[in-house]
Point group: C2
């Protein structure tokens, strides 16, 4: 499929790390790229570094000539655009794809777009520590999973174009029902965020009694607390559009933790080890899979 | 204090990553280094790479000539040595320090050593992904906190020698009551381990329904699941010698998580953000501290 994706006029709405990187990755696939952002400095930077050919701070002006539009904004902003007038700004047959972190609400909203808009939901599983257009990186999507969630009215043609776009990014397409997607990311992403935040809150509570907590915290805490540093607004959007799945995962988690705690408190070292061992093995097995995938990616397979 | 620590005969009991690195770091401070380990291959490696001058698989033979002995074994193995005959093998005035991950039980056991043994508990907050004597690294302790916990009979002279040893490692000494230490590490290390294991168990449960969970898991899950891959035996020793403090931290954590969950389920986005923001700020503030410490370490201050 490589080499398949081409477009005349690509518009990326939201030039953060994700949107800027999309523009970079699709540089050679689009005759013209327009970036839409509210922040003048972001637009200036993107123009100056030739990440985009044209800049717009107005959604209508930015998307009305496009044949491919990617919405690379936080979930609530995407919903706001879909529920608003974007449908009336788009030309017929425009491929509209979003990269919001939750999919069910977005894909539902896509069902109300005018017939003729070729809409499909997307969620690339990638990122970086640094944010903003300055961190844009055309390789950000390479070798990473890119979930595609069909909306009720997604046509076979829209699906094919979206698959070709994902392929052009060097990403690995995974087609999935939007509700299923939201449940999966609740487990691997939203639950971990809440655990990280609650852990930091717990340590902070302990830190009020003794500052030594902060002095002794080392690598384990660094890894476990990283997600707690995520953007609050972005995570708020994600959690509030995925409440049910996150609540389900919290309940599952609570059960797992309670079993471990029971063995700990009853000082049953053998049973405790029996509970902890499968988690260790699952982690090691997953790391082997990740390593194999990374290696395969390096060799272009 | 730099340049202060010297010894005639150092014995390191347990030549894993931590013990091997201690031997490397103290190479120039000891006239002679003996390594004690049960594993012949480990001893061979340590001799061949001049990490130690002599090797022993027998504790008595290894420690009886030493004036400084460091116990670098898992917690239960250290307790076993302290409760056993090591006291009778040691020369008078030998400095005995351990680097076990929990301190209250160990420091208690040290109180039963013969008068004349200069014992003190230690816990360096450092580590590496890789393990074993092959990963030994003389810089492992540099710039990292090294907790010292006095036993009931730790003399001022023992404390001074231990501080000089920590200084020779380039580590940052933090003197602390053993019970306080155990509570702090319950918060920053043992609780995070249990959360990581319970998270992996939760994701594995979800993965039984759909393998996609493992395909989509990315950087956030990688960080949050790393501790779940820790050695089960080592963690079992740690948890079983710190049950009370860990249970206390689990209770604190549960309360924090329940507050977050309540706001999530009641869809109170404003209150949810108010709960999550302090955790974010505490994480960012801690990272600033860590960065400043690392920078200071680089400039030798």
């Amino acid at each position: 499929m490589s080499g398949g994706f081409k477009c005349r006029h690509l518009t990326v709405v939201g030039l953060g790390l994700m949107g800027g990187s999309l523009a970079c990755a699709l540089r050679e696939r689009a005759e013209h790229i327009t970036g839409v952002d509210r922040d003048p400095a972001t637009l200036d930077y993107a123009l100056k570094h030739k990440i985009v050919d044209a800049a717009a701070d107005d959604l209508k002006a930015g998307v009305s000539e496009a044949d491919v539009v990617i919405l690379a904004a936080p979930v609530r902003a995407i919903l706001h655009m879909l529920d608003g007038r974007i449908g009336s700004y788009l030309r017929s047959n425009t491929l509209l794809i979003d990269i919001g972190s939750t999919k069910a609400d977005i894909v539902d909203a896509m069902a109300n777009l005018p017939i003729g808009v070729q809409a499909i939901g997307g969620h690339p599983m990638t990122g970086k520590e640094s944010n903003g257009v300055e961190a844009s990186d055309g390789a950000l999507y390479r070798g990473r999973p890119f979930v595609l969630c069909a909306a009720r009215r997604t046509t076979p043609a829209a699906r094919e174009r979206a698959l070709a776009l994902v392929d052009a990014l060097g990403a690995l397409p995974i087609e999935m029902d939007a509700h299923k997607h939201d449940q999966v990311v609740a487990a691997i992403s939203h639950l971990p965020y809440l655990l990280s935040a609650a852990l930091v809150a717990t340590v902070a509570e302990e830190g009020r009694a003794d500052d030594a907590v902060w002095n002794l915290a080392a690598g384990g805490f660094r890894d476990m607390s990283r997600l707690a540093g995520s953007d609050i607004k972005m995570m708020g959007d994600i959690l509030s559009t995925n409440t049910r799945a996150v609540a389900k995962m919290l309940a599952l988690f609570r059960r797992e933790l309670a079993m471990i705690e029971a063995m700990l408190i009853s000082q049953d070292d053998v049973k405790l080890a029996e509970l902890l061992r499968p988690a260790r093995e699952a982690r090691l097995e997953w790391m082997r899979r990740m390593t194999a995938r990374t290696e395969a990616g390096k060799h272009g397979t």
